[in-house]
C-alpha cells in the first residue's frame, strides 16, 4: 500500500517534471526539473530494491552530471536570461513525432510483453554479491566491461579537457 503511494507520487514527479524540463523557458529551471526527475528515478530504484543503483544514480547524476550542467549554464548564459523560443512549426512536428513514437512503442510493448509480472522478492541485494558479480570473470559477471569502461572514461576525460582548455 505505502509502496504504491510512493510509486505513484514518484511517477507523477517523473512524468510532470520530464515534460516541464523540456518545455521550460529558462535553462536553470530546466536543469532543476531534470534534477527532480533524476532523483525520482533514484527513488524508483529504491522501490525496486536496488539500493546500490539508487546510490550511484544519486551520486553520479545529482552529484556529477548536474554540477557539469550548472557550470555550463553559468558559463554560457547571462543570469536570468531566457532562451529564444522555438518556432511553432518545429514544436508541432516534434510533438507529433514524439507522441506518435510513444504511442507506437507503448502499444507494441504493452500488448506484447505478455508475461505475468510480479515481484519475486523485494529483498535487498547484498553488496557482497554485487561486488562478486562485478569482479567475476565467469558468465553473468562483469569484470570485463568494468575494465574496458575505464578506457572510455579516460579517453573522455582527455578529450573533454583537450576541447575545453583554453589556448595556452
Amino acid at each position: 500500500m505505502e509502496v504504491h503511494i510512493v510509486f505513484y507520487i514518484l511517477s507523477l514527479i517523473i512524468a510532470v517534471f520530464s515534460v516541464m524540463a523540456v518545455t521550460s523557458g529558462r535553462l536553470i529551471r530546466s536543469a532543476t526539473y531534470l534534477l527532480f526527475v533524476l532523483l525520482a528515478t533514484a527513488g524508483l530504484y529504491l522501490i525496486l530494491g536496488y539500493q546500490y543503483l539508487f546510490a550511484v544514480q544519486t551520486a553520479v547524476y545529482a552529484g556529477g552530471i548536474m554540477v557539469l550542467f550548472i557550470f555550463a549554464i553559468l558559463l554560457t548564459q547571462r543570469p536570468g536570461g531566457r532562451i529564444t523560443p522555438e518556432s511553432v512549426k518545429q514544436r508541432v512536428f516534434a510533438i507529433i513525432l514524439s507522441v506518435a513514437g510513444a504511442f507506437f512503442s507503448g502499444f507494441i510493448i504493452i500488448s506484447n510483453i505478455g508475461r505475468v509480472s510480479h515481484l519475486v522478492d523485494m529483498k535487498e541485494i547484498d553488496s557482497r554479491h554485487i561486488g562478486m558479480t562485478l569482479m567475476g570473470t565467469g558468465k553473468f559477471q562483469y569484470l570485463m566491461p568494468f575494465e574496458v569502461i575505464s578506457v572510455l572514461l579516460l579517453a573522455c576525460i582527455v578529450g573533454a579537457i583537450m576541447i575545453a582548455r583554453k589556448r595556452s
Binding site: 510493448i109 506484447n112 572510455l152 579517453a155 578529450g159
Partner: protein
C-alpha cells in the same frame, strides 16, 4: 575468478600497452625528446600491427562476453593498417603550429577509439558491445572538433556528438527491449531466443539504426557530409574508413549471430536501405563542389555496396565483405591522403581547385586517378574485383534486381568519379595548385596505397586467405 584468462586478449592488451606508453611519454617527456614523439608513435603502432597480424585459435573468455575468431585478426589488421596510414598522412598537419600542442591527445584519442572498435568487434555481450561502440564514438567527437579554433571543426564536433548520442539513445532503448523479451544479453543465448515477435522486431530496428548511423546509410546519413566537411581531413578519412569499416563488419556478425532467426526481416530492411543509400548518395555526389562533401557521399554509396556482402549472409558474403573493406580502405585513403596534403598546404578543397592538378603535381594526380578508378570499380584495379565478388555473393543468394540496381549505379558513380579525373587531367586552370613537395611519411603512405590497389587486384592470395576463414564469426 580466472583473471589470467584476460591475457588471451592479445590484440587489445598490446594496443593498450601502446596507448599507455604514448600517454606516459607525452606527459613526462621533455620538450626535446618530444620531437621524436610522432616517429615513436608510428613505430610502436607498426610493431603492434605486425605482432597481431597472424590469426590464432578461436577462444572465448568471461563466460562468452569476449569472443575471438581468426577472421577478427584480419579485420583488426585492416583497421590497424588504415589507422597506420592515417598516422602517416597526418604528420604534417599535426606538426602545424595549431595542433602541435595536441598531438599527444591526437594519438591517444585515435588509439582509444580504435580500442573501442576492437572491443565492439570481439564483444559477445551487448554491454561490452555498447561500451565498445561508445568508446569508438564519444572520443571521436573530440577528434572531429580537434581544430577547435575553427568554426567548422567545432560545429562538426557538436553535430557529431549530438547525432551520435541520439543514435545511441535509440540503440540502448532497443537493447533494453531485447533484454525485456529474452532476459539475457549474451549473443550466444540470444540467437535461440529471438524469433521475430513484434516487440523484438521493434527492438531490433531501434537497436540497428544505431549501427546504420555509424555506417552512415541513408536515411541515417544526414550528419555525414557536414561532419566530413568540418572535421580535420585526416579525421574524416578515419571516420570514413576505419570507423565505418568496423561498424559494417559488426553489423554482419550481429545479423548472423544474434538476429539469425529474423533473416527475412533484416534482409528486407537492408534491401530497401541499400537501394536508397546507393542511389541517393550518388545523386548527391554528382552536384558536390567541396571535395570532402563529395567523398562523404561517395563513401555513403560505398557503404551501400558493402552491405551487399551483408545481405547475402553467407560465407562468400563475409569474405567478399572483408575483401571489399580492404580494397575500399586503400583506395579511399589514397584519395584522402592527396586531399589532405593539398588542403594542408594550400587550403584548397573545392573540386574546381583540382583543375589542371596534373600539370603541377603529376604524381599526386596519378595516385588519385588510380584510386578513383579503383573506387569506381574499373578493372584491373582492385576495386573491380572487390565489387565483382560482393556482387556475386549477393547474386548467388538471388538478389538479382538489387544487383542490377547496384550495377546501374556504378555507372552513375563512374560519372562523378570521372568529374574529378577530368578536373585533374583535362581541365585548364589559371591558378593551379602549386607544386607540392610532400613529406616522407605521406609519400610512404601513398606508395603503400598505390601498391596495394595494384597488387590486391593482381594476386589472389589475399582473397584466398580471407576466404579460407570463411564463416569465422
Amino acid at each position: 575468478m580466472n583473471y589470467s584468462s584476460f591475457l588471451q586478449m592479445q590484440e587489445e592488451l598490446s594496443l593498450l600497452v601502446v596507448i599507455v606508453i604514448l600517454l606516459i611519454y607525452d606527459i613526462f617527456a621533455g620538450e626535446k625528446s618530444l620531437r621524436f614523439f610522432q616517429p615513436v608513435a608510428i613505430v610502436l603502432f607498426s610493431i603492434h600491427t605486425i605482432l597481431n597480424c597472424i590469426p590464432h585459435h578461436p577462444f572465448e573468455i568471461a563466460g562468452g562476453m569476449y569472443h575471438y575468431v581468426p577472421m577478427l585478426t584480419y579485420v583488426k589488421t585492416i583497421l590497424n593498417l588504415g589507422t597506420l596510414i592515417i598516422f602517416l598522412q597526418s604528420q604534417h598537419w599535426l606538426n602545424g603550429e595549431e595542433s602541435i600542442n595536441r598531438r599527444g591527445e591526437f594519438y591517444f584519442l585515435t588509439l582509444s577509439t580504435l580500442f573501442g572498435m576492437y572491443i565492439m568487434l570481439s564483444a559477445g555481450h551487448f554491454l561490452l558491445f555498447i561500451i565498445g561502440i561508445e568508446t569508438a564514438s564519444i572520443p571521436m567527437a573530440t577528434l572531429v572538433a580537434f581544430n577547435k579554433y575553427t568554426h567548422k571543426s567545432a560545429e562538426a564536433g557538436a553535430k557529431y556528438i549530438l547525432s551520435s548520442v541520439f543514435a545511441s539513445g535509440l540503440s540502448l532503448f532497443g537493447i533494453s527491449m531485447i533484454y525485456g523479451t529474452t532476459g539475457t544479453l549474451y549473443f550466444d543465448d540470444l540467437s535461440g531466443l529471438l524469433n521475430g515477435t513484434p516487440i523484438e522486431l521493434m527492438a531490433f530496428v531501434f537497436f540497428v539504426v544505431g549501427l546504420f548511423f555509424k555506417i552512415s546509410l541513408v536515411p541515417f546519413h544526414l550528419w555525414t557530409p557536414d561532419v566530413y566537411e568540418g572535421a580535420p581531413t585526416n579525421i574524416t578519412s578515419y571516420l570514413s574508413v576505419v570507423s565505418k569499416g568496423s561498424a559494417v563488419f559488426v553489423l554482419f556478425t550481429l545479423f548472423i549471430k544474434v538476429f539469425g532467426n529474423m533473416i527475412d526481416q533484416w534482409q528486407a530492411i537492408l534491401y530497401g536501405i541499400i537501394i536508397i543509400s546507393i542511389t541517393l548518395a550518388n545523386l548527391f555526389a554528382i552536384r558536390q563542389q567541396n571535395m570532402k562533401r563529395f567523398l562523404a557521399f561517395s563513401s555513403i554509396s560505398q557503404a551501400g555496396y558493402l552491405l551487399l556482402g551483408v545481405i547475402s549472409g553467407s560465407a562468400t558474403g563475409m569474405s567478399s565483405l572483408v575483401y571489399y573493406l580492404l580494397v575500399y580502405m586503400f583506395s579511399n585513403l589514397a584519395i584522402f591522403g592527396v586531399v589532405s596534403v593539398i588542403e594542408d598546404r594550400t587550403g584548397k578543397i573545392n573540386i574546381r581547385d583540382y583543375n589542371a592538378l596534373y600539370s603541377t603535381n603529376p604524381k599526386l594526380s596519378m595516385v588519385m586517378a588510380l584510386a578513383l578508378f579503383s573506387l569506381a570499380g574499373i578493372p584491373p584495379f582492385a576495386g573491380f574485383f572487390s565489387k565483382f565478388f560482393i556482387f556475386s555473393a549477393a547474386f548467388q543468394k538471388g538478389f538479382y534486381i538489387l544487383v542490377l540496381i547496384a550495377l546501374i549505379n556504378t555507372i552513375v558513380s563512374l560519372y562523378y568519379y570521372l568529374l574529378v579525373v577530368r578536373a585533374m587531367f583535362f581541365n585548364t586552370n589559371d591558378h593551379p595548385v602549386e607544386s607540392i613537395k610532400s613529406d616522407v611519411s605521406l609519400k610512404i603512405s601513398l606508395i603503400i596505397c598505390t601498391v596495394a590497389i595494384l597488387l590486391i587486384g593482381g594476386f589472389s592470395v589475399v582473397y584466398q586467405q580471407i576466404a579460407l576463414l570463411g564463416f569465422g564469426i
